[in-house]
């Protein structure tokens, strides 16, 4: 046995080696192709027992098969299929057929007939099911061909009477995926079997096997997804399925009902056991609500989720979902919500609860109480109280969606959402806070509700608190007491968790600007001014005081009477804060003071925006003046770059655009400078030192091009071409410099070849863009290509040098929107003087908190770099869960970085920064190329620039003071 195993190991091993040898060359591959299917044939013939044959097939399945040989392999497999007696081998062959017909580029219509034929004599149910699965694969590859689909559907219908559930399952799946969708075509090609697919599937709603019932419903849903309009008659059938014993069936039935309710919202259905009739969507809504108290939580989640998207439902049905008539001893009782509301409206808020306060009042008529309502009653009350948090989250989401479309419902569900702020699971709490924020423009919080909301500010979870701050930013508060309450609670929050500073200030900024009139009467109290006495000047560095001022100044912006209440030091503080926290403090029209920055009138649209015009003008200037003397060009470029950089600082919305162009011009400038070098005129041995500038320039240009390509979001392919072109120029420069500085020709051979390959791949990648690049470096280079390929390296270098000098400067078209990825590390702040002490050899966790803007796919690209004083660098990949997405284009990274080092004698600073990783394979250009042309053209050449990976630092480095102590023995 051991010897056998060993032999197999060797076999496999040698196979792998062989593959490696064969792969690089396509020619060899082709040679091996016939041998592969032949090998399979031989193997299968050799097989003495079914187990052997199975082994061979399994081994065969591990390797991919080329498109050309698929058909041959299929034939061999089929041949063996007919001969084979063992069901398991046939099963494997059937599944291989399916696998093979999935091969890209292979059209399986040639094997379809054979596959259908095999069905005829098959006795084993499992093999039948597998064969039908194969047909499904074939069918999905040939969806364009209606006659094939017809035929397959017919086959499926024939096997629907099979006694095995597996076969019926697959048949239904096949009908669902391939059944005719277009009415017209179906009628034309009407044959006896493929009549009405809906009816055929519908007949199986009552199948005895729950799996088949589920498959039938799923097939129906599949038809719907493919665009077939389901008939309304199915509705009553589907309703019956809601009472099925099996949860999969119920779950699928809920979906089907939902689909139907969206298709026929307005049709009328009768209510059983009465003469009334209601809209279908209302009936379906009631039924799905009923499923929220189903026995299986899978169904409950499903039902709760779907409720959210039923927006056509009538409002009184909707409001019933929040209604649960309470009673105690058959007497009507009010809910705590109702009592709270009443207390609030009677002006007697927060009275202590007495025993019997909730004593039931009036008697209820026993006949009128309906304990199990068929309607929507209390669906959300149940959903929000569910045992499983998945259901609760689904219910909160549904509430959110319904409330967004119905303001009156939003008002009603408020109490319930506020209650959810106290859920035991943090996710649910967070979700309900987010939901509340989303519907906040529809609602105004009552004081008692605000009270409950604010209580959550003390939560120890930072996410919860920040979500709550976001919520408060866009909440409407009804009274000045409410504002005061919010402020007090926020300040309490600030003292308890000082790290929340920024978030609280921002929150107060919005709170102030939303409620100027409510803040006005509070101003004297908040600033603790007194009509007669001067009060001591508060400490300007106190975050709480700043918080109060942020609230007041933002309110004062739209309330001109407010500044009159300020005392002298308030004005001084205003001036200070306006400078230091300009993003939080708005410009105010203060008496006796001029506005420092002239407000930009909002009426100007971006198109006529002067700064934008300026940007374009300066660019025009640069592009037009390319034939000036080199000195002039350089100066002009320098000025323009300076202008653009300043513009980027002033106009935040144009910053991306300006930076991008400035970088590009910078590259151009460097290139020109490098070409101006004297070194080109001097004899080779003399300028060994002088080449420093040229090679540095080449290197820098390369770096900048990667930044341009990967750090900006919104870069289009037009820009990518230019960037790549610039990179090509840099590489040419590098080649020239190396050629000049190195002695000997040997290394040059390789470099030249590589460069030419790059030119070639550039041409292939951007073939469509080449016409726009008249007179450019590449354009000229491609003309000379035949010469280049045959000439020696030294000649190549010469040609390159002249082309580089003669080539024109390409116009960089600007995209609509361009944003530069930025990152800002909030924590660690780098201000601490206390070193972080830990025992050497052990680890210490450093909390890192950063905001990222305009980063695409941060989970994949953002890394944290830690640089130790000894030059050791460590790159940490944060977990995907550490990224949060508070808004479009914004991300937040909250993670922990583990530090460790050997013992130091002194505390020292390490640097923490964020990096943006890139991989040139992922570049937008290569993704654009259609696959087929890729593989064709690739045959001669290996893949260009095989995944150059690198990182761009995109945040300021923060210094952290650490001190690894030697371990005590």
């Amino acid at each position: 046995m051991a010897a056998h195993l060993k032999k197999r190991v060797y076999e496999e091993f040698t196979k792998v080696v062989q593959q490696q040898h064969e792969d690089p060359s396509a020619k060899k591959l082709r040679l091996t192709k016939p041998s592969k299917s032949a090998a399979l044939h031989v193997d299968l013939c050799k097989a003495t027992s079914p187990a052997d044959a199975l082994q061979y097939l399994l081994q065969f399945a591990r390797k991919p098969v080329e498109v050309e040989s698929v058909e041959g392999v299929v034939r061999i497999l089929l041949e063996h299929y007919y001969k084979e007696n063992d069901a398991s081998v046939r099963l494997k062959i059937a599944s291989l057929l399916g696998l093979l017909s999935k091969t890209a580029g292979f059209s399986p219509d040639c094997i379809m007939d054979d596959a259908i034929n095999t069905l005829q004599n098959e006795k084993s149910h499992q093999v039948l099911a597998q064969l039908l699965d194969t047909l499904l694969v074939i069918g999905t590859k040939l969806t364009e061909n209606p006659s094939v689909r017809m035929r397959l559907v017919e086959v499926a219908c024939k096997h629907l009477t099979d006694s095995s559930h597996g076969v019926r399952n697959k048949c239904l799946q096949l009908i669902g995926c391939l059944g005719p969708v277009e009415k017209g075509v179906a009628k034309e090609a009407e044959s006896q079997a493929a009549k009405d697919v809906q009816k055929i599937i519908g007949d199986h709603f009552n199948d005895q096997d729950p799996r088949v019932r589920t498959a039938a419903i799923k097939a129906m849903l599949q038809l719907h997804e493919r665009g077939l309009k389901l008939q309304q008659a199915i509705y009553s059938q589907a309703c019956k399925l809601l009472a099925d014993d099996y949860e999969q069936v119920r779950s699928a039935a809920v979906q089907l009902i939902w689909v139907l309710s969206q298709l026929y919202p307005e049709s009328i259905v009768p209510i059983p056991s009465s003469n009334e009739e209601i809209r279908l969507v209302d009936d379906a809504f009631g039924k799905i609500c009923h499923m929220v108290s189903d026995g299986s939580w899978v169904v409950r989640v499903q039902a709760a989720k779907l409720l959210g998207s039923m927006q056509q439902v009538s409002s009184h049905f909707l409001e019933q979902t929040l209604d649960k008539k309470l009673m105690s001893d058959l007497r009507r009782k009010r809910t705590a919500h109702e009592r709270a509301k009443e207390l609030y409206s009677s002006g007697e808020f927060s009275s202590g609860r007495k025993w019997g306060d909730d004593a039931p009042k009036e008697e209820i008529d026993t006949g009128a109480v309906n304990l199990i309502e068929s309607g929507a009653c209390g669906a959300f009350v149940h959903g929000l109280e569910d045992e499983m948090y998945e259901v609760r989250i689904a219910a909160v989401e549904a509430l959110c969606m319904l409330a967004q479309s119905s303001p009156s419902f939003a008002e009603k569900c408020l109490d319930f959402l506020v209650d959810m702020f106290n859920d035991e699971i943090e996710e649910v709490r967070l979700q309900s806070i987010h939901t509340m924020r989303k519907i906040s423009n529809n609602i105004t919080l009552r004081e008692d509700q605000l009270d409950t909301v604010l209580a959550v500010l003390e939560d120890s979870s930072r996410d919860i608190r920040e979500a709550l701050h976001e919520l408060l930013c866009c909440t409407n508060v009804s009274t000045k007491e409410g504002i005061h309450l919010a402020l007090v609670e926020l300040l309490k929050n600030l003292t308890k968790y000082p790290t929340d500073r920024e978030s609280i200030w921002k929150c107060l900024k919005f709170l102030g600007s939303r409620h100027p009139t409510l803040v006005l009467p509070l101003v004297p109290e908040l600033l603790s001014t007194h009509p007669f006495f001067d009060t001591p000047e508060p400490d300007m560095d106190d975050p709480a005081y700043i918080a109060v001022l942020v609230l007041i100044f933002n309110a004062a912006k739209s309330c001109p009477t407010m500044p009159a209440l300020f005392s002298d030091h308030t004005f001084r503080h205003y001036a200070y804060l306006r400078d230091s926290l300009s993003h939080l403090v708005p410009p105010l029209r203060l008496p006796g003071r001029k506005l420092l920055s002239s407000p930009v009138s909002p009426s100007i649209t971006p198109h006529e925006d002067p700064s934008q015009q300026f940007l374009h003008q300066s660019l025009e200037r640069v592009y037009n003046l390319q034939h000036l003397d080199p000195q002039g060009v350089q100066e002009l470029l320098e000025f323009t770059i300076r202008d653009l950089q300043r513009l980027g600082e002033l106009q935040s919305e144009l910053a991306g655009m300006a930076d991008f162009t400035a970088t590009y011009l910078q590259c151009q400038l460097l290139l020109i400078k490098a070409l101006q070098e004297k070194l080109w005129n001097v004899a080779a041995p003399l300028y060994l030192k002088q080449n420093a500038l040229a090679s540095a320039a080449a290197k820098q240009i390369l770096e900048e091009t990667y930044k341009m390509e990967f750090m900006y979001s919104g870069v289009e392919s037009r820009q990518v071409v230019i960037i790549h072109h610039m990179r090509l120029q840099a590489k040419a420069l590098q080649l020239i410099v190396t050629a000049r500085t190195t002695r000997g020709v040997e290394p040059l051979f390789g470099m030249c070849e590589k460069f030419l390959q790059e030119v070639d791949s550039f041409q292939r990648c951007f073939i469509s863009e080449l016409p726009h690049m008249q007179g450019s470096f590449v354009d000229k280079l491609l003309d000379l290509m035949p010469r280049l390929v045959t000439s020696k390296p030294s000649e190549v270098v010469k040609i390159l040098q002249t082309t580089l000098r003669q080539s024109t400067f390409l116009h960089l078209p600007l995209p609509e929107q361009l944003h530069r990825a930025t990152a800002n590390i909030i924590e660690p702040t780098g201000e601490s003087d206390n070193p972080l002490r830990f025992t050497s050899g052990l680890v210490v966790a450093l909390d890192v908190d950063a905001t990222l803007e305009h980063v695409q796919d941060p989970q994949g690209t953002v890394k944290v770099q830690v640089l130790y004083p000894d030059g050791q660098a460590q790159i940490i990949h944060p977990k995907p869960a550490d990224f949060r997405n508070p808004g479009p284009g914004r991300h937040r990274l909250i993670t922990q970085v583990y530090l460790s080092h050997t013992a130091w004698t002194e505390p020292c600073q390490i640097e923490v920064r964020l990096l943006l990783a890139y991989n040139s394979n992922r570049s937008k250009a290569s993704a654009k190329i259609p696959k087929s042309s890729w593989s064709e053209s690739l045959e001669a050449l290996p893949q260009p620039e095989n995944g150059i990976e690198g990182t761009i630092p995109f945040s300021k480095a923060v210094k952290v003071y650490i001190m690894p102590k030697p371990a005590r023995r």
Binding site: N206, K324, S328, N370, L384, D419
Partner: protein, 609 residues
Amino acid sequence: MPEIKVTPLGAGQDVGRSCILVSIAGKNVMLDCGMHMGYNDDRRFPDFSYITQNGRLTDFLDCVIISHFHLDHCGALPYFSEMVGYDGPIYMTHPTKAICPILLEDYRKITVDKKGETNFFTSQMIKDCMKKVVAVHLHQTVQVDEELEIKAYYAGHVLGAAMFQIKVGCESVVYTGDYNMTPDRHLGAAWIDKCRPDLLITESTYATTIRDSKRCRERDFLKKVHETVERGGKVLIPVFALGRAQELCILLETFWERMNLKAPIYFSTGLTEKANHYYKLFITWTNQKIRKTFVQRNMFEFKHIKAFDRAFADNPGPMVVFATPGMLHAGQSLQIFRKWAGNEKNMVIMPGYCVQGTVGHKILSGQRKLEMEGRQILEVKMQVEYMSFSAHADAKGIMQLIRQAEPRNVLLVHGEAKKMEFLKQKIEQEFHVSCYMPANGETTTILTNPSIPVDISLGLLKRETAIGLLPDAKKPKLMHGTLIMKDNSFRLVSPEQALKELGLAEHQLRFTCRVHIQDPRKEHETVLRVYNHLKGQVFPFWGGGVLKDYSVQHLPDGSITVESILIQATAHSEDQGTKVLLVSWTYQDEELGSYLTALLKKGLPASTS
């Protein structure tokens, strides 16, 4: 007709002393064995003499099932098993088995040591009794004997509470015990599958109540505690040792954790510590949150809650204390109450119902001056709050459970008669099932209609299904076969196999019938007429679910066949004008054959061709 008999010995139209006798298919099962809180005489235990006057109970009962550890469900167990005498198996879940003896011991101590009763069960008896207990897992099917099997379902209510399904053959009963359909902070909601029992015996404590969301209550509770603690006041929460106390502990513990509060929380020792230990062990019985997080941290290992010491009551500063007993009638909770009552900053929160006459009841009803023993007058300045945290299903919950289980009959116990009336009426009205509410000692008989399983041979089944379309579960289907009843089992086999098994030769049974027809024509013409007549007929028979086209054939030898039925015509020997039609069929085709004869007897239509 088989029947199920149910007799409540306790908890019939009453709360307390749960004890229900069920006899189902010849098996006798006792559900719960509780004591009554309201009585101190013989009435506190169920009247076991109802089962038998003399002799041991073991002979009359097949098993005893205890639903959960509350004393009104298990308090009489040692008395029943040791003093009356029962040696059969007692079934309960693992947590119940663990916690039950602690409570019984406590109950014994109070009754014997404090009240000085004699003739009560001893500690040893409790131990002996617990030895007879068989512990079961959730959803585990336990075979009590060959026919009787029981299965436990999760019931919420308290740790380890379970609903039990009792099944004999096809007949089954589900007993819910006490259950809760809304999850709380430490337990999940009751759940049962669609087991369609013949009878569901359900508690109905809150038959006429629909409760508000628990979130409001919880929030109120937390807010009150939080405010008082922030003010620097002390909070006293009198609790019963088990159940609610743990829920409130979890509630406060998580709140403290969430809000980063520092004030100490104390739990007066006693039973509780032992019980908490079991809560830590039986994590699988708790709710989703605790189950999911226990890998990081067992929620019952409280970080903020510490054991209470008498001396702590005088410590300055805020604190929260849980103390027993729950009604402030004696013990530690009362002592602490007396110390703290004078300060208006303090607060007492009563989390449950208080019996009349206790201090708890007095302060809840608003009394501010209390007369303590020794003529002392205690002025209550502290705030008094009431928070109800009950773990029974409300009316909606009961209905929901009925909907989940889909029983054929419902029987209500553990509730007040008046309230049951209402629920009974509702159940009958909405589910269209009959509902019963027997009083103690009253026997309810429920007729069942059990389905009798019959084994069918595979060959026969395949043959019969091949004839028609797919078998439809909802429709009855006609099939031919032989039913063999042997050794208490039923088998349906094909006739051939039955013959083989019985060692009999097959006999063919043919019915023949002569029909006289007045027809002067020749025989073959008559035959032709009959043939044409039958050809035009549509036979109203369903073969395997569809109307089959019967093949009517005219054979060359002058006879007609309709499927296997043969018709021949001969002239009457005496009267040539009368033709005799001979109709012959096998017994399998009886239906068709008799139809044909009837048809022919009506005569042929006047003249067809």
